[in-house]
Symmetry: C2
Subunit: 236 residues, 2 copies
């Protein structure tokens, strides 16, 4: 899990549950947020590791080795790092898509039943733009379409790897991500303002549905989390 | 255009048409192939520039500046670079997706009607795996899903940029690409052999339909080129 807008509220909801451990991986530490999470439920051990999803696969494997050694078992991986800025093509794809693929690939080393692993659950954060695109940010939208596709394929491979996967796809949510961002080649200079005119949801209602989706734990599901609702999507 | 299996046969078909110029961009020069293309129709000027799609955007812009200065006008860009090897995650995404986005973004600088450009046509090569995935290569398949998505969004922006776009999506074709390749985490070690058991098409029949799709020139079209047929796909 992470400490972004949706990530922090989702972590708040998660620690209210009967959880043993919550490991937060994010680029930037936020000791106040970690302390708050620890205070919500002292029975949950909350730990933080700095992690940039754009680091090479081998580095991620090293970090996971440390985490698995400490916790013994890890049940769920939530891949939530994301940026929205179509002026930054390489970085958008590296964070939203490549980083998620690398992190997923790295954890398979510990979970894959072909290697004697116990299996596990991967929860990838897509976006409603993966299937209802915001054309003004085609790089972001395509990177999220790739996330949804990739996750569907991983879900189909669960019989081989023992690892199941699903996506949660938030609609427009009141986060810093959508507060201000650039469209591709400035095709719509007022894209952030225009999005703000749409109905949106709070990070809290999004986070509550996020945790519901995790609890439902359906392999191959594509959950749409929009306007405070949780809805399964059929996608070809 | 390029000089790979489908690329070379498509170039052969293209120079048979009433074309003024054909510019080939590929990583590796192939003087014999260029000479052959020149011999097919001496009225077409065939030129080659070395180009790696993973070079940064600014380098691509420089190369395009040279090409536009030489040709005055460029009508169609074909983005065809692709690799199939799910052991190479970063490179698969860099070549198949990021490279295509960067090349598309770079040429907009010359074509964009908001800058006084004449518009243009972008033909991106996806794959049937973009919508009918080969799950054993989830990274490749997701990178192609991203290509199809990205192209659809660019097509929707044509009213702003003056640049139209469509994809051609070959099915399994007898190329070196599918002769031997790795599945993701070796989930199916015999993936190439298994694909070979499926009916396939030749690069020639694929190339003929490819050129047909270019001639039809429909903004937003998703062309499926499989088993020697050309078929429009509806995709949500």
């Amino acid at each position: 899990a992470g400490l972004g807008g949706i990530g922090l509220d989702t972590s708040r909801e998660l620690v209210k549950r009967d959880l043993k451990n919550l490991v937060i991986l994010d680029r930037i530490d936020n000791p106040a947020a970690i302390a708050e999470l620890k205070a919500i439920n002292p029975k949950v051990t909350v730990t933080f590791y700095p992690y940039d999803v754009t680091t090479p696969l081998a580095e991620t494997t090293k970090l996971l080795k440390t985490i698995f050694a400490q916790l013994k078992t890890v049940d769920v991986l939530i891949n939530g790092a994301g940026i929205l800025d179509d002026h930054q093509i390489e970085r958008t794809i590296a964070v939203n898509f490549t980083g998620l693929v690398n992190t997923t690939t790295a954890i398979l080393d510990f979970w894959d039943k072909r290697k004697g692993g116990p299996g596990g659950v991967i929860c990838n954060i897509g976006s409603v733009t993966g299937f209802n695109a915001i054309y003004q940010v085609p790089v972001y939208s395509a990177s999220k379409a790739a996330v949804v596709s990739f996750t569907q394929y991983i879900a189909k491979l669960a019989n081989i790897t023992g690892v199941t996967a699903f996506t949660v796809n938030p609609g427009i949510t009141k986060t810093t991500l959508v507060h201000k961002f650039n469209s591709w080649l400035d095709v719509e200079p007022r894209v952030a303002e225009k999005l703000d005119e749409h109905p949106t949801q709070t990070t809290l209602s999004c986070a509550q549905n996020f945790v519901k989706a995790i609890e439902l734990n359906q392999n191959g599901a594509i959950w749409k989390l929009d306007l405070g609702t949780l809805e399964p999507i059929q996608w070809t």
